[in-house]
């Protein structure tokens, strides 16, 4: 049945996994916005998305994303920047879900013969 599901579904799913994980990292930044000596971090993918279904996706990397310029107490979390990143990530996530939904809907339509 894997002929039914093309590489685009794999790519979209991996993108969603990444978006979920990135949200967790960004949420940690916000939770620690007042924690002394906490440095902001972000999740990045080193390589472009590999859509071959067999190879497992490489783990994304956690990097320090702050500008290092210390805020109060060694904390470099910029609240507005993190909120912007969360908004961007959420939008990406919703887009991926919509695309996946339409792929699945097309498959179901084709299978059932009803349009």
């Amino acid at each position: 049945m894997n002929v039914l599901f093309g590489s685009s579904i794999t790519a979209l799913t991996r993108g969603l996994t990444f978006a979920n994980q990135r949200h967790e990292v960004l949420a940690q930044n916000l939770a620690n916005v007042e924690t002394p000596n906490y440095r902001a971090r972000d999740l990045v993918r080193d390589e472009p998305l590999d859509t071959t279904s067999d190879t497992p996706a490489p783990l994304p990397r956690v990097t320090y994303s702050g500008d290092g310029a210390s805020g109060i107490g060694g904390n470099d979390v910029d609240l507005e920047r993190e909120m912007g990143r969360i908004a961007e990530n959420t939008l990406l996530h919703h887009t991926l879900v919509q695309l996946l939904a339409s792929q699945f809907a097309s498959l179901k339509q084709a299978i059932s013969g009803r349009v």
Binding site: L16, A19, N20, Q21, H23, E24, V25, L26, A27, Q28, L30, A31, N32, V33, E34, T35, P36, Y38, R41, L43, L59, V62, L79, E82, M83, I86, A87, T90, H93, H94, V97, L100, A101, F104
Partner: protein
């Protein structure tokens, strides 16, 4: 579930900021308390916060429940209380100085605003995580 983890992380942020706001409110309320339960002037309190994970993927260890920020407790300032010259005050010492709490009300109000903003930001992150989960579930409808 990674969405659940995000919810826990944001919830810990909300908890931490609530604790901070409670302590700030206590400071402000007691900014004039020259005699507290200890017999000495009220000493300013502050919340000690600590980040509990060093990397997002620490939480992938089995049984790990990431909270992201932990309230390590409330610390009472050990600074000596402020002394102001007010000889007519009932608690004035023989030298005319009164010991008053080391609470700077303006500082406390600023901290309160920062804490409120942080609380709201964590609430937004919490809602965002919820929406991510709900959106994924829509796929199964």
């Amino acid at each position: 579930m990674d969405i659940f983890r995000s919810l826990n992380v944001s919830a810990s942020g909300l908890t931490a900021q609530r604790a901070r706001m409670d302590v700030i409110a206590e400071n402000i309320a007691n900014s004039d308390t020259t005699i507290s339960a200890t017999g000495r002037p009220y000493q300013r309190k502050s919340v000690v916060l600590r980040a509990s994970d060093s990397s997002a993927f620490d939480a992938m260890l089995p049984g790990g429940k990431p909270s992201a920020v932990v309230v390590d407790g409330v610390r009472t300032s050990a600074e000596p209380p402020r002394r102001i010259w007010q000889p007519e005050h009932p608690q004035a010492g023989p030298d005319g100085f009164v010991e008053v709490p080391n609470v700077n009300t303006v500082q406390e109000m600023t901290d309160m605003m920062a804490s409120t903003r942080a609380y709201e930001a964590n609430a937004v992150a919490f809602q965002a995580a919820k929406s991510l989960g709900a959106k994924l579930l829509e796929l199964l409808r």
